[in-house]
């Protein structure tokens, strides 16, 4: 669960670390590519001096 660290409260630092590791594992190369392509789609707006 990507947002598990927000859904559950964590008492100890170990639990926090585990929650972060769990969230980090959900970030896949496919997600990264999706957001990279989204970023590339904004370049045209930048060149056209549009607001972001």
């Amino acid at each position: 669960m990507k947002l598990a660290f927000r859904t559950f409260s964590h008492e100890t630092e170990e639990e926090v670390d585990a929650a972060i590791k769990q969230a980090a594992a959900t970030i896949t190369p496919t997600d990264s590519m999706h957001w990279f392509q989204h970023t590339q789609s904004l370049y045209r707006k930048c060149v056209d001096l549009e607001d972001l």
Partner: protein
């Protein structure tokens, strides 16, 4: 009562003629045809022809009077378009703002806020939580700088050779601000009594490889009590979040990873980027924002490494 008598007393159905027939009658009359000639051409009763002509002269229109059925839209497409355009341009505009805009911009009496709300619903507008946009993000200077940056690097940034690096603070004690409960029942959420420490996450993310490297730092408060006495004053201390030293060590650890030394042994790229040629160590481009901790000797370290 006999069937014949029933037929006589039955109310005769009123015959209706189309707008095209009305227009034809009026055009014939305007061209100088007499009533009898129009009757012969249209096969309408003479009384009907006279009535159509008389009404068209009274109303200056050949269309029939609207009777029953669905009501016509009171507010035209121009009002609807203005409302939708205004809301698209400014998501923070309230219904009263839109009503005021219609009053100023168009020569019509503005509709009530309920009607404006319905126009927005029909156009697929929904209420959302606004996210803050820093004012400087879209200033003319920043937009010009952004354009120059994109024009200078856009051709050289690919999914294989780009590594995005950034840091972001997180709080583990935040609670949700929206929830559901039955009508008349308050919706509450349990919150921690003490505020927890913030955590700052630094991450390096090449699009072709996913999350490559990350580290977490506990943010220390930037104030401390002068003495242990109750009610003691606080004093400002140095920055205790992600400092340049922490960022420098993160960069050094990152650049030690195998990806930056032997691209052929690196992590396998996803299908979307697998066709691209692997980048050599010299071809990687690290993209980060203009935070102060990213400047200074960081650039020298990157190139020397």
């Amino acid at each position: 009562m006999s069937e014949e008598k029933q037929a006589d007393t039955h109310k005769r159905k009123r015959e209706s003629h189309s707008d095209d027939t009305h227009l034809r009658v009026v055009l014939l009359h305007s061209e100088g045809y007499s009533y009898s000639e129009i009757v012969a051409a249209t096969h309408l009763p003479e009384g009907t022809v006279k009535t159509i002509i008389h009404r068209s002269q009274q109303r200056h229109s050949t269309h029939k009077k609207h009777k029953g059925g669905n009501h016509k839209a009171v507010w035209g497409d121009d009002v609807r378009k203005l409302v939708c355009d205004m809301q698209s341009a400014d998501p923070a505009a309230s219904l009263l703002d839109l009503q005021h805009a219609v009053d100023i911009c168009l020569p019509v009496t503005p509709s009530c806020v309920n009607t404006i709300w319905r126009m927005l619903q029909t156009a697929d507008f929904t209420t959302k939580k606004l996210y803050p946009i820093p004012e400087a993000r879209n200033s003319e200077r920043v937009k010009q700088e952004r354009k120059e940056w994109v024009e200078s690097v856009v051709d050289s940034l690919t999914a294989v050779n780009t590594v995005f690096i950034d840091e972001s603070p997180f709080s583990f004690t935040i609670t949700r601000t929206r929830g559901r409960s039955k009508k008349g029942v308050r919706a509450g959420a349990t919150v921690p009594a003490m505020r927890g420490k913030n955590h700052t996450l630094i991450a390096a993310l090449p699009p072709a490889h996913g999350l490559l490297h990350w580290s977490v730092h506990v943010t220390q408060p930037s104030e401390e009590f002068i003495s242990n006495r109750k009610g003691s004053k606080k004093k400002k201390t140095g920055p205790k979040g992600v400092t340049r030293d922490i960022f420098r060590s993160f960069i050094l650890t990152l650049l030690d990873l195998p990806l930056f030394h032997s691209p052929n042994d690196s992590i396998s790229a996803p299908a979307a980027a697998s066709s691209a040629t692997p980048a050599s160590a010299q071809q990687f481009k690290l993209v980060m924002d203009n935070a102060r901790i990213h400047k200074g000797d960081i650039t020298d370290i990157i190139f020397s490494t």
